[in-house]
Amino acid sequence: MTPDVDPQDRSAVAAAWVAREDRGQLEAGERGKRDAWLSADSRQFGAYARARAVSAQAARVAATMRAAETSHENIRVPRSVRRWLRSFGLAAMVAAAAWLAHMLFLATVPQTHEYRTSRGEVLRMPLPDGSMVTLDSATELTVIYTPDRRGIRLLRGEALFDVVSDRARPFVVSSAQATVTAVGTSFSVAAPQDAQDAVRVLVREGRVDLADTTDGVRQRVARLEANQTAAARPGAPIQVQRLQPKSVQDQLAWREGMLAFHGDTLATAARRFRRYSDVRIVIDEPTMEGRRVVGLYSANDPVGFARSVALSLGLVAERRGNTIHLRSPQQTSRGLD
């Protein structure tokens, strides 16, 4: 099958190659043909690099787009309803008044909503008071609003809260044994991944209070300012750490479907990718687990990450089903002996 593109149109041929690579691994013959085309003229190579950039840019918006599609569906009013509203104007007004009364009544009783994201999904949505919550991949939380308290129960995963200021109604996020109390600010909370893990809090703007509520008693309150992060473990003092603003942004890169690493170990980086896709990265070379990695990667592209790691550390990335193995080239030769 031949893509119908004008061979003179470098952008079109470049797009065809990028789409072909996106379909799956090129066969040896195709690879030779592509390389011949790329090396023949620097402008062709440039057009190809540009098409790759466009493709990468599209991948960056993936998470944003998913959130937008969801909110779009929520606000769309079916045509039949609109027609009904037009022809029964008065009835509609009565209905609207009844609905308003219902909402006013609801304002006095707790409103509970559950939100969850599946793996690889990032969702940004408004809360009833106008605050915004952004749920990272594989996150689950319950919103419990009462007249004097805006409560969030973070069950798993991580979320960023951009809180509208309301002194009379504190915004309280609880997760495992920790609670985070804010008035008006922007901060993220990550639920512990297992019993030994900590609840992690990151403050982007303003300040929050972090309390350990082990055994149901509020204790060891720590005040966190902007650009500080803290970890609360059961039965251990709260650890507070100051961060550079740049590093705060990096830690929140997941909102744009990206993962940023600043000298994290390879093992940590590989673990973080697990939250975003079913593909697992396994490091077969134990001496490499502690190597530090730096860079910004698409969260839904563990394969691309493994490939660039392999390239920069002189390893081989090999995919078997849903697992990518990173191993040293010598391991193969030993395997073949």
Binding site: V13, R20, S39, R43, N300
Partner: protein
């Protein structure tokens, strides 16, 4: 035009991302810069832009580039100069206009004024304004992470057609991003040539470039 060394042919995902973040958003401004000053040179802006991408994609390391806009302008200028020097008939006024442009300090690139969110929102609007089937295939691939084969099954079309939709998506987005967007961020029909996937003539088809064997 020059040949590219085999060793630099591979464009890493990381480099593609760097180009997407630092070069792509500056491209409309680069083209405006070229058009304003190169009208008399007889140099094709597309050629220059592609040369610039080739240089940036082929660099060993981009970490040292602190000011991408200044770097873009420097690359563009040297490309234009090389093209002019190689031309068989050298137009004097072209060099004169280059002199004029050397005296001018490249102003701050527009990239730093456009925040990351704005960029993502614009790209999002562009994706949403792609032709229906193309958009669907593109969204399934990029947002939902389905493989081209899975998309083919879900949409009830052949894998080749899916590949064409993806190709068309990249091509239309590339064109729209390079030339800047309308105020509403949509791809207007008039600005996009539909040569390729749907509108190719019989002749184009028979001479079409074969990316397969």
């Amino acid at each position: 035009m020059r040949r590219i060394d085999d060793a630099t042919l591979a464009v890493s995902e990381q480099r593609a991302l760097w180009l997407a973040t630092h070069v792509l958003p500056n491209e409309p401004a680069l083209r405006r810069w070229l058009c304003k000053r190169m009208a008399v040179c007889g140099v094709d802006a597309d050629d220059v832009v592609q040369e610039v991408y080739a240089v940036l994609a082929g660099l060993q390391d981009v970490a040292e580039i602190r000011d991408p806009w200044a770097y873009l302008i420097a690359c563009a200028r040297s490309t234009v100069l090389n093209t002019l020097r190689r031309a068989r008939i050298v137009r004097i006024e072209a060099f004169a206009s280059l002199d004029h442009l050397d005296a001018e300090e490249p102003s701050a690139g527009p990239e730093r004024h456009v925040n990351a969110h704005q960029q993502l929102r614009e790209t999002l609007a562009l994706i949403q304004s792609l032709p229906e089937k193309c958009r669907r295939a593109f969204v399934l691939r990029r947002v939902h992470g389905l493989s081209q084969r899975e998309i083919a099954q879900r949409m009830g079309i052949s894998e080749n057609t899916v590949e064409k939709h993806i190709c068309k998506g990249i091509r239309l987005l590339a064109q729209a991003m390079g030339h800047g967007t309308n105020s509403d961020g949509s791809i207007s029909d008039g600005s996009i040539s539909e040569r390729g996937a749907d509108g190719g003539s019989a002749q184009t088809r028979s001479t079409g470039y074969d990316t397969r064997r």
